[in-house]
Symmetry: C2
Subunit: 311 residues, 2 copies
């Protein structure tokens, strides 16, 4: 009898997949599967479903579990999936993490509990440690999710150090969405040699992150622009890498002029000719027609395209 | 056949009841029921179970529903209960609100979705409106929960105005935990005449809130000091009201020198001689023995007591 071990580590470009909703705001599994398959066919090494840009925290625990199962049943390989599982409640985080791990997912992307602010390092450490202890599965691979601009509660270096000391096999890496390159650089420098995979939280830092020894990026932009981002990942040492980075950055900048999630969904709706993709759950709000026109105009001016979308 | 209507509105002092946990961090229904009964016997007009100080967002939806049912089954009147039901996910908020309303609760205390920051008034409005529409129960009484220091996402005046215009029967009031008296005063002034009950989020504002036409307070301090706070509520026009307020404030100040939830739990543990009460769920951390000594010394110096606790 062999002891189950973690699936191989993913490297490259991962998309925090936007979650489509039907008109009644229920998750739309069919469109979700289709978009996931398109992303894997167009450059994504993996799918960080249920991230911030997936409106994951606007979904119930059950909604997430059902969608994940539907994805796997539809043939999306679990070994390509790194679902977000970090909730405010320890019991929810444990439940989602155990479920994803049992399904064979490559890892889980774990927010710290984010309701209480000003919590101590000890409290953040205990949250992750208790989760790892309770999941109690040798296949568990945790990617810490550091996104203080949204969650407000971050993952301090002292916590990472303690977790790596205590759970070296379970703690696989981090998505750094601090937006602060110096933080991503320091993560690579301090923890990279310990087999801790640092993913930049935006494609804007991809070239720098690869130069620093990072593992790739997990980025919203990959929802609509996976090909060019993946090309840079594969060719970051090429002579035109800076130029590739600039082209990717221009698309990101066009999207970022608007609230990111509605902008991504509007872009997919537009290029797929599928208006239902626009739907977001409250508290988010769709782009206005004026915003959409501005966005699509800016993307067109950049020569942006989404190949074979919806196929 | 009569159409069910909302239970009578509560006025006075409501406690956001701290949630006891067993050593394995599971909710301790027995201690919970006992503390709720003690609070109602010692001055609380109602119980805002599953508030911020209840570690509610550290509980799963199922854990909250089970605890609420256990409370009602144990004989705590549903008409005294205003459970917190606001989650990040619309579907969770709807589920908890419908459940509490069907149980006959006096109302629900509803946070706006708090994961995404910088959301628009339109998005916050849609969150509440969609919840009210989906609960679709004439008995629903929503108390909006404004606590920007923790949730970061607040409940703007423009949103309250729209909600009162559209759902005058369902929108019952607010708990204002902004910590900003001028906000509480403005809420009373602007919405008080529309049957909108303004509860201060701290006993520190109780006298001022009653003078401004408010309905009372929903306050952490009521977990340990309900009697004196209730006396001030009943006697806010008495000559010694300022003196009563000062005495209440002194107890609050002693507690507030420490993280509030562990401090409340340590105080109950101490006065009830029941050390298990200290337990908190991550990301919170218990007080250290040194912190406890300081806290208990300060409370003793104030002549603080908890009558017949645990009985």
């Amino acid at each position: 009898m062999s002891i189950p071990s973690a699936p191989p580590r993913l490297r490259g470009v991962l998309s925090p997949v936007v979650t489509p909703f039907k008109a009644d705001l229920s998750p739309d599994a069919e469109r979700f599967v289709r978009h996931c398959q398109w992303l894997l066919a167009n450059g994504c090494a993996g799918l960080a479903v249920f991230g911030t840009n997936s409106e994951a925290n606007s979904l119930s625990v059950e909604e997430r579990m059902v969608l994940l199962e539907q994805l796997v049943q539809a043939g999306v390989p679990a070994a390509k999936l790194v679902p977000g599982t970090g909730c405010c409640a320890l019991t929810d985080t444990v439940r989602l993490s155990a479920h994803a791990t049992a399904l064979g997912c490559a890892g889980v992307l774990m927010l710290p509990p984010f309701y209480y602010k000003g919590v101590t390092d000890e409290g953040v450490y205990r949250s992750f440690a208790e989760t790892i202890e309770r999941v109690a599965d040798a296949r568990l691979a945790v990617y810490l999710y550091h996104i203080p601009p949204v969650s407000q509660v971050g993952v301090p270096f002292a916590v990472i150090e303690r977790l790596l000391d205590r759970y070296p096999a379970a703690v696989a890496g981090i998505k750094d969405s601090s937006g602060d390159w110096s933080n991503t650089a320091a993560l690579n420098e301090r923890f990279g040699a310990r087999g801790f995979d640092v993913f930049a939280g935006s494609e804007t830092f991809l070239l720098r992150n690869m130069s620093a020894g990072g593992a790739g990026c997990i980025t919203a932009g990959a929802n609509v622009n996976p090909g060019p981002i993946d090309r840079l990942f594969r060719n970051w040492q090429a002579p035109d890498a800076e130029k590739q980075q600039a082209a990717i950055d221009a698309v990101r900048a066009a999207l970022q002029k608007f609230p990111m999630i509605p902008a991504l969904k509007a872009t997919i709706a537009h290029y797929a000719g599928d208006p239902e993709w626009r739907t977001v759950r409250p508290p988010l709000v769709e782009l206005t027609p004026t915003q959409e026109s501005e966005l699509f105009g800016a993307l067109q001016a950049l020569g942006f395209e989404m190949p074979r979308i919806g196929v």
